[in-house]
Symmetry: C2
Subunit: 343 residues, 2 copies
């Protein structure tokens, strides 16, 4: 029998707290028989939510009371030092103490990163954790990192991101040797700034399946990339620009079909088809970013996630837990980061 | 009577050369009575194209022979030093010599920037030219710079970009005090890297209508931004990521309506409406990036532009010429860059 995986949830995190996290938890338990969950937060509020759903604590669903919670505006240092009994902190502590295999939070990213880093520590050989997510692409999906944890970083950090991203893509997608690209302003060797040129040399000398420079449009359109690496400043802006364009297009289409009686009639027929074809790029399906490089699985959900979306973040943590990502990463990183440079 | 504006066209530039530039030129002359054009390139090929269109040289359409042309792969230095009679170089020379008011080229960006900078020189107070373009947004349009001319730059350069972008947006869109935002990973003051934090201080102390940090999605979704400033590395990746998402969505929609007989039937009704509503974000309407900061108007067209698209780049150069952009920029920049910092 497959071992059960236990995941602790920061039930109070995100814009909607338990009204989203509790139903998402119940659905996740229904869809994943090998999953156990611990809901961490105000036990009164959590129990009330469960009751409303006709659910209750069970051998697969624990509640762990925490008296505080981190707000979306709490500075990371304040969350870390001033709220030691927050739902976020207690949920992370459970991973540290071995009571759970992973933690999921929709709480504020800075606080989550600072607390997880403080409590769980970074993997040996990793200077800085990075944020990674999967994005839809014409080739299936592309994993991208860093998405904002490191706004300034050196070439060596980009190399570490590449090594971590490769291990994660291999573990969660079962890819033998993930193809890793370095985000740049062109594919020619002369293009780019010093940071990417130096990272390019490090990657060429490594045993990673490095395919060279890739450009912004390749994230979504290339069919031969599994992992895209960049610094957190660039990654955050690339991701948010992409979200902005998608939002603008969807708004324009929606408004367009509402313009007049003819377009409204066309919309009646077109909109269901559009909805169904666009389902494959539904951002909710991609909710859940992994904080990579920590000695414990930490998944960040979008703060504004709904229950469907938050359940997806739980699913990502569940896959990483069943695949034993931190252990695999530790052993593979040791190999990669210590290998002698190619002659 | 309004003064005529003369624009020199690098007729051989781009992926398609005269087969695109010549028809675009003829259409631009029809649509803009105040426009004169000089087609620079292989006069035999240009004349053959004109003949095919039933057109000929006139007092509004000159041909200037040039014996060479810059390829898309020519390194900038090679184009600059080794091809002194290229269509690109001769077209730029015409601006320098006062025979034309602006130049438009679909040729390779690096060569165009290097040659234009060498021949025309930068404006007083500007260290580095930048590339700027307009992008569609829910608020109308957003001007963005730098899009790739400067992959490494300091806070002072970002400040100069902001000053130049503000002047251009004011000149071409008739906006009194364009609202300028600085691209960052968050809107809070603590967010970002040292470069943007320092640029933020410079901008706050200036007389520009600076609105603070903006994020990637604001480029397309915010309704209160006229100019977005960033370094060329970030700008290029943001722009290409956005193009990639738009391309992916359009491919998915197209494939989706072709999936089966029902979706094909729905497509017959929906596609014309979609086409019409998406016309406002047609990238061809936004073709034409200005090389800002030079003592002469230089507009870069996309290399793969079709005639409709290339005509739009001509139109941008025409507006900048009639608005006397370089002179306005010179005088306004002097004021802005030399103003005493706010107390």
């Amino acid at each position: 029998m497959r071992r059960m995986s236990t995941i602790s949830l920061d039930a109070m995190g995100g814009d909607f707290g338990p009204s989203v996290t509790v139903p998402a938890a119940c659905n996740a338990l229904k869809h994943n028989p090998g999953l156990r969950l611990v809901l961490v937060g105000d036990s009164g509020v959590i129990n009330a939510e469960l009751e409303q759903l006709g659910e209750t604590e069970s051998d697969r669903l624990d509640i762990r009371h925490a008296s505080e919670f981190v707000t979306m505006d709490d500075p990371p240092a304040q969350a870390l030092r001033g709220k030691k009994d927050s739902s976020m902190r207690v949920a992370i502590n459970l991973v540290k103490e071995g009571e759970s295999d992973a933690v999921v939070s929709a709480g504020n990213t800075g606080a989550l990163m600072a607390t997880a880093r403080f409590v769980l520590k970074t993997l040996c050989g990793i200077d800085r954790p990075a944020i990674m997510t999967a994005l839809p692409s014409l080739g299936g999906k592309t994993h991208m990192l860093d998405l904002g944890a490191n706004v300034d970083c050196r070439a060596e950090h980009l190399f570490q991101f590449a090594a971590m991203g490769s291990v994660l893509a291999s573990a969660v997608d079962g890819i033998d040797r993930p193809r890793v690209g370095l985000l740049n302003v062109g594919q020619e060797a002369i293009k780019g700034n010093d940071q990417v040129k130096k990272a390019d040399s490090l990657l060429r000398a490594s045993s990673l399946n490095y395919i060279g420079y890739v450009e912004g449009d390749d994230i979504y359109c290339a069919e031969d990339i599994d992992v895209v690496v960049c610094n957190g400043f660039v990654g955050n802006i690339s991701l948010k620009s992409s979200e902005g364009v998608a939002k603008m297009i969807s708004r324009i289409i929606k408004d367009g079909f509402g313009r007049n009686i003819f377009s409204k009639a066309a919309g009646l027929i077109a909109v269901p088809v559009l909805r169904s074809v666009l389902r494959q790029v539904d951002p909710r399906l991609y909710n859940g970013a992994t904080l990579l490089g920590l000695k414990g699985i930490t998944v960040k959900s979008h703060g504004g996630a709904d229950a469907f979306s938050f359940e997806n973040a739980i699913k990502i943590a569940y896959i990483e837990a069943t695949e034993g990502v931190p252990m695999r990463m530790e052993s593979q990183l040791q190999k990669m980061l210590n290998e002698p440079p190619a002659p």
